[in-house]
């Protein structure tokens, strides 16, 4: 069984996160490796994520977009909790192969 059939709610959240892009790179935060944990308990989604830099001015606006997009794409959910953590630090190795391909030409 794959994610979609085994845990459709979580899959729905991941699908929404795929639509949240880093505006400069045009790459999703999933492919950048910024999402550390996604859980859905009842109608609440809980997301643990990080940013590529602790000094990023877009931190709050990306978190806002995460909440909006997850709720917009998953009408069965009533709330989204997002926690930004700095440990473990993000590293480029966390990027998906797709992202690496785009950035390395």
């Amino acid at each position: 069984m794959n994610e979609i059939t085994e845990n459709p709610k979580r899959a729905g959240v991941l699908a929404a996160l795929k639509l949240v892009l880093d505006p400069e790179l045009g790459i999703s935060i999933i492919d950048l490796g910024l999402i550390y944990r996604v859980e859905v308990i009842g109608q609440q989604a809980m997301i643990e994520m990080t940013m590529t830099s602790p000094g990023c001015p877009l931190s709050v606006s990306i978190v806002d977009e995460v909440r909006l997009m997850v709720l917009k794409e998953n009408i069965n959910l009533s709330g989204v909790q997002v926690e930004v953590v700095w440990d473990p630090p993000w590293s480029p190795e966390l990027m998906s192969d797709e992202a690496k391909k785009i950035l390395q030409g």
């Binding site: 505006p23 400069e24 790179l25 590529t52 602790p54 000094g55 606006s61 630090p89 950035l103 030409g105």
Partner: protein, 360 residues
């Protein structure tokens, strides 16, 4: 606890007011007739642009990144410093002290970032803030702007270089390639510091650091990849790459002429750097940063290319006119560059309003 977006508006407004009045003074300084707002405004063009406008906007974006109330003290102080310079409501030294204090706060903000996670690119950006602070202190204790402007240039160069090095991690560049950029940054820092003892040698060394930084960025920056995309990522990348061109031009002029304070060459160097390089960064990132800072969305529109194309065209007139000693051409380029920045502000505001209408 963070400052809510609505409360950040007055800070942004102070920064934008400093920009508009700085342009007013700048146009007057070129000899164009405009109603006089205050007698000292033309003389304050540089400090208003760097300390009150750029300092407030950059301070504000980093305060948003920090998401703590104390982080907003910096842009508050530089914003108020700008208002005092514009109005002359207090002796200049008060404005200078406020801007100096605001720049010190930016250093503290970067220290706070390194406590979240340590990265060398944050140290470089923090050294940028330190450069700005040192330049402000020298200005406060009586140095003329032309004597210390190199420190202000270093501030922006290091801030931007650090930012680009942060993104550069995604390219998995070799240690050697990363070292080349660090060396360019180091050369720039040494040059900038040297200007306080030997302005000419220091400026030339700073110019060398600028050229090598520009070559590195033009070749290795992530913009070389994202320029192949469409829409906003491509728009940002085009602005970045154009900015690196002007950084190289600034460097070349500095190497060639050193700390030449004869009006035209000095004007050419400063505006190649501050307009061509720094404002290219601002134009490119405005569709991303303004919404993040103000909590209001902004629709990216291809018509933004209008102010982008204008910027480079008018700068060619200005710098070309200055270097060929065709003062009339320099003056027209200068007037048009001010108009270009006003068009940029209008386009930005309209895009924010368009987004608000679209999402009602």
């Amino acid at each position: 606890m963070d400052l809510k977006p609505n409360y950040r508006l007055p800070l942004m407004a102070m920064g934008m007011l400093s920009l508009i009045t700085a342009l007013w003074g700048g146009i007057q300084r070129l000899g164009w007739e405009l109603p006089t707002l205050t007698i000292t405004l033309p003389a304050h063009h540089g400090p208003l642009m760097v300390g009150a406008f750029l300092g407030t906007v950059i301070g504000l974006e980093r305060a948003v990144a920090l998401a703590r109330l104390w982080g907003y003290l910096g842009p508050l102080m530089t914003g108020v410093g700008g208002i005092l310079m514009i109005t002359g409501a207090a002796p200049l030294i008060v404005a200078q002290a406020l801007i100096s204090a605001g720049s010190f706060m930016l250093i503290l903000v970067f220290v706070a970032f390194t406590q979240r996670q340590f990265h060398w690119f944050l140290v470089i950006m923090g050294l940028g803030a330190l450069s700005w602070f040192v330049g402000n202190l020298l200005w406060l204790q009586g140095s003329a702007v032309y004597q210390i402007v190199w420190w202000w240039m270093g501030y922006l160069l290091l801030t931007i270089a650090g930012e680009r090095m942060e993104l550069g991690r995604m390219l998995f560049l070799s240690q050697t390639k990363q070292m080349l950029m660090l060396i360019s940054v180091a050369i720039s820092i040494v040059g900038m510091m040297l200007t306080s003892w030997d302005a000419d040698s220091g400026a030339r060394l700073l110019g060398l650091g600028m050229i090598t930084s520009a070559l590195w960025l033009g070749h290795f920056d992530v913009a070389r990849r994202t320029v192949k995309q469409k829409g906003l990522p491509r728009f940002i990348a085009i602005n970045l790459l154009a900015g690196y061109f002007w950084l190289a031009v600034s460097g070349l002029l500095l190497i060639t002429y050193g700390a030449d304070f004869s009006g035209l060459r000095y004007d050419a160097v400063l505006h190649a750097f501050f307009l061509g390089f720094v404002f290219s960064m601002i134009f490119g990132h405005a569709p991303v940063i303004f919404p993040a800072v103000l909590g209001r969305g902004m629709l990216y529109r291809p018509l933004f290319y209008i102010h982008v194309v204008l910027l480079h065209f008018v700068l060619l007139l200005r710098v070309g006119g200055g270097l060929t000693e065709e003062i009339w051409l320099r003056d027209i380029g200068g007037l048009l560059s001010a108009i270009t920045l006003v068009i940029f502000v209008i386009n930005t505001v309209l895009a924010v309003l368009a987004h608000a209408r679209a999402t009602k």
